[in-house]
């Protein structure tokens, strides 16, 4: 029972916080702090995720966006120092994606966030409060999960709407 409990706690589908050493926990090159940017500095999601409302992908901001503020270090944070280094070197930060859908699925941010007017938090959770990068999706984009939400919100579950 204990073992099963532990397994569950560590499994990718567990709602509990995941220790960093788990292989399925996605590590980011820089421990980005959403909290500072959103709660303290008052950025909106789309200020950095530029295309979240208008395009297929929200896009993860990279040095072009970050350089606006972080050309020089703003704080003493060692994580920020890494970013400044990337910017200085003109190198892209190798962010890793956490939310992925397979090849045969069409997912459009515009369709959901803009047309469907779904708040970012519905899928991405209280991301604004996170002081460290999340290691796994808050809401896993599995077909069951998608279809459940579609059912509840009255969106179509017709296969070809999302599969091509």
């Amino acid at each position: 029972m204990t073992a099963a409990g532990a397994l569950f706690a560590l499994s990718p589908s567990s709602p509990l916080p995941q220790p960093d050493w788990l292989p399925w926990r996605i590590q980011q090159p820089i421990a980005f702090n959403h909290n500072v940017h959103v709660e303290e500095l008052g950025f909106e999601c789309v200020d950095c995720h530029l295309y979240a409302l208008t395009s297929v992908r929200a896009t993860i901001p990279n040095i072009e966006n970050c350089a606006d503020c972080h050309e020089e270090a703003q704080t003493e944070s060692p994580e920020e120092a890494k970013l400044v280094e990337y910017i200085a070197a003109g190198e892209k930060v190798p962010w890793r994606k956490i939310y992925r859908v397979p090849d045969h699925v069409y997912f459009s941010h515009r369709r959901h966030a803009s047309i469907g007017a779904i708040e970012c938090e519905v899928c991405h959770g209280p991301i604004a409060e996170q002081v460290k990068p999340v290691g796994r999706p808050y809401w896993r984009p599995t077909m069951d999960n998608c279809m459940e939400c579609h059912e509840e919100s009255g969106a179509s579950n017709d296969c070809v709407y999302c599969h091509d």
Binding site: V56, R57, I60, V101, D103, Y106
Partner: protein
């Protein structure tokens, strides 16, 4: 869209590091684009440009997702294709990404193989040779042969050679212009206003697949019209092409006998008096019998027709049906705006000039000149003229000092011109040869000779995207950027009635280390210095285009390609003498031109008969005085001094069998085609090579898709086939799917041509139609070893008058080598549902 799916990109992302550590350091897709595609927002963009894969120059719209091209479609506003795009154009991206494209300049090692080199080294070497020629005044020892579609490139190449002091420039083109020169006095193929015609008689040309702009033909005759006023098609030809199947009336004739059928039709028109008497009386010469300076009565076209080409005889000569000839003639007479267009197999024979003259004479009989839906001369594109310059040695090349270039017909030639490939193959005393956008070693019957000639020339520079058969025989191969990677232009295709100038802009930066040949020429001129550098001062081909096209703006004619409403508005204004001024300044105009993909002028200058008929009589000449002069000249140089015997002597030198009178030779008449090989053998077939839609543009074979659908009309792919009429196949005991060899008498067995039999009901008996474009070697792509190349076994013959190549020139025998293994025919069924 979700780009993670693209496992190629994942893979690529992973291998970028490896590749960059590798020797070349080139990425096929630049880093930036990979990054964009992986994480980009999936923003779509559409860019208009021009397809550069064949001479047509259709407008295409490129779909880019995060700056990566992912799709091509026809530009719905382009006047030529109006949204349509042929399979070759569709394959554009496959060609762009073709794994066998040349990745950088190649240089031949002394022992024969190629080594990779850089542009710097290659250009330096070429510039040095050019410099030597320039300084020694031996400019004429350089030659340039190209097949680029755009007029502007041709101008640049000519100027380049001229500055070098050479007249040796030639452009390989689709149709020969000689018949139009003889009849109309013009040095171009006139336009045929398909878009306003109600009946198009196509002589030998598979209008919807072949010709300079087949998609234009479809969109002009069918696509842009509604049911009620669509143009009907009448097809005269030996093959049952898809065009022929769609024709309202189809006349099957034996290969090379189109003229007989056409003259039969003319006979009916004349005998029934249903020709345009007004036009014939006012604007033609030689219809009725006429009296020459010496007072002798000469044969008129009318009498020739009535005496010689009554339908029964015409049908007998062409192996067709007299009733159909009469039916077609009456249909033409009934039509309001008929037009006759000639090409394809009809102009690939030894009698092509007369065939074209005959077909064009129908236009004259029908009064089709200068009226809507008839023959038109597209208005001149008002390009900025090139600034004058003086050549290095102070002597412009074609100055009448005797050196008129190797591509001009030699003085002892019986024909007006000479095929540039043959000329090149026979030329000695060349030091430098440039080849661009053409592959004569592969597609010309003189190819094998040319290959030997190329070995003799010390420096052969080939511009090519692939290491094709010609490039493989060159000394330096310079990779060419494709139409999606570079600035390029295309000018009005042959036979189109309005003038159009397409501008192709780079959509992606070149994937490989390639350049546009124009850019390379400019760079060479800079490096060679001297007269070359002053004559070609432009920094890039783009700058050259920009300067030349500025004339479009300042002329105030035509308009940038636009939507149908704007277009008709321009039309309306200009017809009433207004000028539609393009938006303000030079830069804005250039931007607009690039954004929309080109410029066109739909307005036809009407009523200008002096422009239309530039013959010595100022009329349409049924009886070609220029041809008479030429023939007489031939006779005189053979020692005859009197006009009549000289003419006779001249005709004899062409090797003809005209029995009635010498006058016939100067009139459109039927001349039996010369066919090499034994015509006596009962099983001899006339070999008719044709270009399928999928074979347009030599680089089309870089695309697996095109190869797979190569013979889609006969359900064939990845192979060469031979189309036989059912009765012919039956006689030869062949079935659908059998593998055969076709041999000429001359060809040794091992070079016999192999093909798979397809039975085409409706094809003419005794003809073997084979597609061109396959049987490639050494390209390194999917096309290698697929199918066979019929050009290989063609007898080398030419049009007696124009000197152009005749490809319908050979009789072959077929030998069964393998019975159909499986599949093949089924009992054919009609109807549907």
């Amino acid at each position: 869209m979700i780009f993670e799916r693209r496992d190629f990109l994942k893979l690529l992302g992973g291998t970028v590091g490896t590749v960059s550590l590798g020797s070349c350091g080139r990425f096929l897709v630049p880093d930036r684009m990979v990054e964009q595609a992986l994480r980009g927002p999936g923003i779509e963009r559409q860019v208009n440009t021009i397809c550069g894969l064949c001479e047509g120059g259709c407008g295409v719209t490129v779909r880019l997702v995060d700056d990566l091209p992912v799709g091509l479609k026809g530009n719905s506003r382009h006047p030529l294709n109006r949204g349509g795009l042929c399979p070759v154009g569709q394959a554009g991206l496959e060609v762009l990404y073709a794994p066998n494209r040349l990745q950088g300049p190649l240089r031949r090692r002394p022992e024969g193989s190629f080594e990779a080199t850089g542009w710097e080294e290659a250009l330096t070497e070429i510039a040095k040779s050019l410099g030597d020629l320039q300084s020694s005044g031996n400019g004429r020892r350089a030659a340039f042969l190209h097949g680029e579609p755009g007029q502007l490139f041709d101008d640049l190449a000519r100027r380049f050679m001229q500055a070098l002091g050479s007249a040796n420039v030639a452009r390989r083109r689709g149709e020969t212009v000689l018949p139009y020169r003889l009849a109309q006095g013009i040095d171009q193929v006139p336009g045929f206003d398909l878009a306003n015609s109600d009946l198009v008689l196509s002589v030998g040309l598979d209008l919807f697949e072949d010709g300079a702009a087949p998609i234009h033909a479809v969109s002009a005759m069918v696509g842009s019209r509604d049911q009620a006023n669509r143009a009907s098609l009448i097809h005269i030809g030996s093959r049952l092409s898809p065009s022929a199947t769609k024709a309202a009336e189809r006349l099957a004739v034996a290969p090379g006998t189109h003229a007989a059928a056409v003259l039969g039709i003319a006979h009916v028109l004349v005998r029934e008096g249903r020709y345009d008497r007004n036009f014939v009386a006012k604007h033609t010469f030689g219809f009725e019998d006429w009296t020459d300076d010496r007072g002798e009565t000469r044969l008129g076209f009318r009498r020739l027709l009535l005496e010689q080409y009554y339908p029964d005889r015409a049908a007998q000569l062409s192996g067709s049906d007299p009733r159909a000839i009469i039916r077609i003639a009456r249909r033409l007479a009934r039509a309001e705006r008929p037009v006759v267009i000639c090409g394809g197999e009809a102009t690939s024979t030894s009698n092509a000039t007369w065939t074209t003259l005959a077909a064009h004479a129908l236009n004259a009989l029908l009064g089709a000149f200068d009226r809507p839906g008839g023959v038109a001369l597209p208005s001149t594109v008002p390009l900025t003229p090139l600034p004058p310059f003086s050549a290095a040695d102070g002597a412009p090349a074609q100055d009448g000092t005797g050196h008129s270039g190797i591509f001009a017909a030699p003085t002892d030639s019986t024909s007006f011109g000479i095929d540039p490939v043959e000329a090149l193959a026979g030329a000695d005393e060349l030091d430098v040869l440039f080849l661009s956008g053409t592959n004569p070693v592969y597609d010309s019957p003189a190819g094998s000779d040319l290959k030997k000639a190329l070995e003799r020339i010390p420096l052969v520079v080939a511009f090519s995207s692939f290491l094709d058969e010609t490039a493989a025989a060159a000394d330096i191969v310079l990779p060419v950027s494709l139409f999606l990677e570079t600035w390029q232009e295309s000018t009005t295709p042959e036979g189109v009635a309005f003038s159009v100038l397409g501008v192709s802009q780079p959509v992606v930066s070149p994937l490989f280390d390639s350049r546009h040949p124009g850019d390379a020429l400019l760079e060479l001129a800079r490096r060679a210095g001297g007269g070359l550098a002053t004559a070609l001062p432009w920094s890039s081909y783009e700058a050259y285009l920009k300067e030349r096209l500025e004339g479009l703006r300042t002329s105030g004619q035509g308009s940038v390609i636009s939507g149908s409403f704007e277009e008709s508005w321009v039309h309306f204004l200009e017809e009433r003498g207004w000028r539609f001024l393009e938006s303000g300044d030079r830069e804005a105009f250039w931007q607009g031109l690039a954004r929309k993909g080109g410029w066109w002028n739909p307005v036809l200058a009407r009523g200008d008969w002096n422009r239309m008929f530039r013959t010595s009589t100022g009329r349409y000449e049924f009886f070609s005085l220029e041809l008479e002069r030429h023939l007489e000249g031939l006779g005189r140089s053979a020692g005859e001094s009197e006009p009549e015997p000289a003419l006779r002597r001249g005709i004899e030198s062409l090797g003809l069998v005209i029995e009635a009178s010498v006058d016939e030779a100067c009139l459109p008449h039927f001349e039996p085609p010369r066919l090499a090989g034994s015509g006596a053998a009962a099983d001899a077939l006339t070999l008719v090579p044709f270009r399928p839609m999928t074979g347009r543009g030599d680089i089309g074979v870089a695309s697996p898709m095109l190869l797979e659908m190569y013979g889609y009309p006969v359900l064939s792919g990845w192979q060469t086939w031979v189309e036989l009429a059912p009765e012919t196949a039956h006689q030869l005991h062949l079935d659908e799917g059998d593998q055969v060899t076709l041999e000429t008498e001359a060809s040794p067995y091992e070079s016999a041509f192999e093909a798979v039999v397809k039975i085409e009901p409706g094809a003419v008996a005794g003809a073997a139609h084979v597609p061109c474009g396959l049987g490639r070697e050494g390209l390194g792509g999917a096309a290698d070893g697929v199918g066979d190349n019929p050009v290989r076994i063609l007898a080398r013959d030419r049009d007696s008058v124009s000197g152009a190549l005749a490809t319908v020139s050979t009789r072959v025998r077929s030998t069964l080598i393998k019975k159909r293994a499986r599949g093949g025919a089924r009992p054919l069924v009609g109807g549907h549902g």
